[in-house]
Amino acid sequence: MLRYALRRILWAVPTLIGLSVLAFALTSLIPAGALGGDKATEATRSRQMFLGLPYFLNSSPVGADELAAQLLKRMATGPDAEAEAELARVGGAALPYILPRLDQLPLDARERVARSLTPVALRMGLEGSLPTGRGLRDLAAFWSHFWDDHTLDFTTSSVSRAVSRYTEHGGDDRFHALRLVDTFALPAIFEELKKTQEPARRARLIQLASLSTSLGPNVTEQDAAFSIDRARDRWLEWWYVYRSDFTPFEGSERLLAAITETRYGKWSARVFSGELGVSSRDGETIVRKLRRRAPVTLVSILLALLGSYAISIPVGLVTARRRGEPVDFVAAAVAFIAYSIPAFVHCELLRRLALLGGMVDSWALLPAAALLIVSVAPFVRYQRATVLDVLGQDYVRTAFAKGGTTARVMWVHVLRNALVPTIALSGTQLPALLGTTFVVEEVFAVPGLGYETLRAVEARDVPWLVAIVTVTATISVLGILLADLVAAVLYPHLRAQFGSHVGRAR
């Protein structure tokens, strides 16, 4: 059994990878211009969706080192306001790649670089030591000296040690030391931010990040844990997007970046780490939302499935046994009609009946009931067909011939063997049911996945929409997996057939 289970689970892995590619294809469906907003917000959004990166292979990934070199080259050739602003934004992380080369630049380029670095110096708390009132030349000299004095501060290991000490103990000295390396400390800060659990420590790290990037949201140590968590989510999301600006790709990292610094790489890193990003509607992380919404939906689906079995098994047995009699006819007709009425009509009728009958008390059960009506028909029809099939088998005839009572034969010989296809059916019905819940939840205003998705549609909340496709599809894959495993527990011969069984497309 264990061997079968392992093989079956391994078999599902490529399917899940395929799903991630599919969901990824959805994200690339959206043209950047379609999101609305002015040019600046559009640029930000296209950056946030990595539209500038290649799809699957990045032959020249741009890390902090490469970015600094590019900016320097642009500034050396002539005045470039955009490059200057960019350099001021990147700040400390670029310094180790800019300052050593400063002397090799022509004088005017050197001055331009020095000028654009002034805001960085202010962020670092160096306003006291900046040369005041004199020309750009002194500013350039100042940065050369700065590098001579502080080369040792700009090393990854010392910075990460400083960050972890600061996280633990706080303190002004450590704060100022970290402030001095500016954005160079960001990789270490976010590493630490992902690890620490305590709100006060998180707040300290967020303050550092906020200071060196001059971005929000900022928090203080006294803030409520909830708002600190919220801010942390936003910052981690920011880091996911902008990490490459502040992290150099050196050596083996550079090779790895050829794969990770691509649209698919970014997307899959996020999905497989279980982080699905932040909703663009209200800034809440998708994972948090899912944790709140998914149980509602999954419980109602589970109830509907259990109800379907409870109804379809007896009905299937009876109608198959009494084939052609009025019971059979009525059951078939009811199932057919239930099957052909669209889900939203069911729901709406049920809602009206409940309103008329004053059954508002049982409001919570109605969605499950509506889902049950939709899902039960295929189960009943399928169960009847498989029971009919089993009734024709020789062993059933033998059982009857040996004098078994109808009840015993039906229970022992027929039902056991007629259950396999019906169990498998719950797996294949899962995608349809997940779709149906969307309608049900909208009608009854159930705060589940469907309800949230429709609100996301109104707000064009791309991260949620893409996530919901991934999540529902993953749930279906896992549901089919579970159905297979249950069937294999009940029916050992299925395990032996695994090879041929999966060889057939399901």
């Binding site: 052609g324 078939a332 009509v345 009919l388 024709g392």
Partner: protein, 394 residues
């Protein structure tokens, strides 16, 4: 028992209404009726290849279908609704079909705005001279003309036969044009996914190996995605969502069903003796695929295609109901139903579109089930044998 009164080759109503136990009858392989063309059969006979002779595929199918009372009704109803959708302009519109105006005769100004000398009935009445005449469509309302003064009118009030919706748009006109929306999506989508499904399924089944593994994977991945969710998301993400992008999104997942069935069927047929015989005779692979394999493997695609139209109609109306992804003025049955939610007493906004969706889907399901019975004789034989055996033993 009514065994004697019922010919064994004619399934009972319940049989037609029930699902088949899938893939249970592999042992019955040789009872598969081979749907080969007469020419092929004749050639096979000449070469003494063992083939069960049978008439052409379509002839058999239709002969079977005609005997199904419910399927006949269903097919008629589907054809009727499709016709309503096709000739929607003749049934509802503001501009006349033919008119004499200003001593010119205009033919079918209803079809295009430009060729019409006036844009609405009101305008015509205002401008007409006594000698002018016009033939109007059955109902003189266009599906998208709003009239907020006449919102939520019940049926038979004024000249709105079936009432109006929340924006005062005529329900009858919207039902008629809703049929067009639903059936355009249904038929275009069905054609698309049937073609994709047959091609990919047949390729996978015929060539096997890596191609098969790839297609199987693709089927597994895509069939795990809930169609409604995918369509919803694609329609929400695309900047210009239309009925055709909707169809595209549906086809994206729906072809898998056809491909899966065709693949299994092709796989089975390839193992048959007559394919081996054809190979032995040196017939080329392409010809085997075309003449021997496909005619037999196409049956499940036809059945799945019929059910597929029903699914697409359902998805289209569900999206309309959720008010996602269809352009604002598109007449959709589901959208009308969602308007019925706004007013509790507006039963006509629930009943008529609800009935339209139900009748369409039910008819298509009936036809699909009858087709499946007609094209898959194994099920019928198996069912007929069940009829007697347990009875005899008890």
């Amino acid at each position: 028992m009514s065994d004697e009164s019922k010919p064994p080759d004619r399934p009972s109503l319940i049989e037609r209404l029930s699902y088949p136990p899938s893939e249970k009858h592999e042992a019955d392989r040789h009872s598969v009726v081979l749907l080969l063309s007469r020419k092929t059969v004749a050639r096979a006979a000449r070469l003494a290849v063992p083939v069960l002779p049978y008439a052409t595929a379509l002839g058999v199918t239709f002969a079977q279908l005609r005997r199904h009372r419910f399927a006949r009704m269903g097919a008629l109803l589907v054809a009727l609704i499709a016709m309503v959708g096709l000739f929607a302009e003749l049934l509802a519109g503001e501009r006349p079909l033919i008119c004499n105006y200003d001593s010119h005769i205009y033919i079918l100004p209803a079809l295009s705005k430009k060729s019409s000398p006036f844009q609405s009935t009101v305008e015509y009445e205002a401008k007409r001279s006594p000698s002018d005449w016009a033939v109007f469509p059955l109902v003189r309302h266009a599906p998208e003309t709003e009239d907020h003064a006449a919102a939520f009118l019940p049926p038979m009030r004024g000249d709105h036969v079936l009432g109006t919706d929340g924006q005062g748009r005529d329900v009858f006109a919207r039902l008629v044009f809703g049929a067009r929306t639903a059936f355009t999506a249904g038929f275009v989508g069905m054609l698309a996914f049937a073609i994709i499904g047959v091609v990919l399924g047949a390729t996978a089944g015929f060539f096997g190996g890596l191609v098969d593994a790839f297609v199987t994977r693709l089927i597994e991945v895509l069939s795990a995605v809930p169609s409604l969710v995918l369509v919803l998301v694609v329609q929400a993400l695309l900047p210009q969502a239309s009925t055709y992008t909707l169809v595209f999104a549906i086809v994206l997942t729906r072809w898998t069903e056809v491909a899966r069935l065709v693949r299994v069927e092709v796989h089975k047929v390839i193992g048959q003796d007559y394919v081996l015989a054809a190979r032995a005779l040196g017939v080329s692979e392409w010809r085997i695929l075309r003449r021997h394999v496909m005619p037999n493997a196409i049956a499940p695609a036809i059945v799945a295609g019929t059910f597929g139209i029903a699914t697409i109609v359902l998805i289209e109306s569900s999206l309309g109901f959720l008010r996602v992804g269809l352009p604002k003025d598109t007449a959709s049955w589901g959208e009308m139903l969602s308007q019925g939610r706004l007013r509790f007493d507006a039963w006509w906004l629930m009943a008529f579109p609800g009935l339209c969706v139900f009748l369409t889907v039910a008819s298509l399901n009936l036809v699909g089930e009858a087709l499946r019975d007609a094209l898959d004789p194994r099920l019928r034989d198996a069912a007929a044998s069940h009829d007697r055996e347990p009875k005899r033993s008890s």
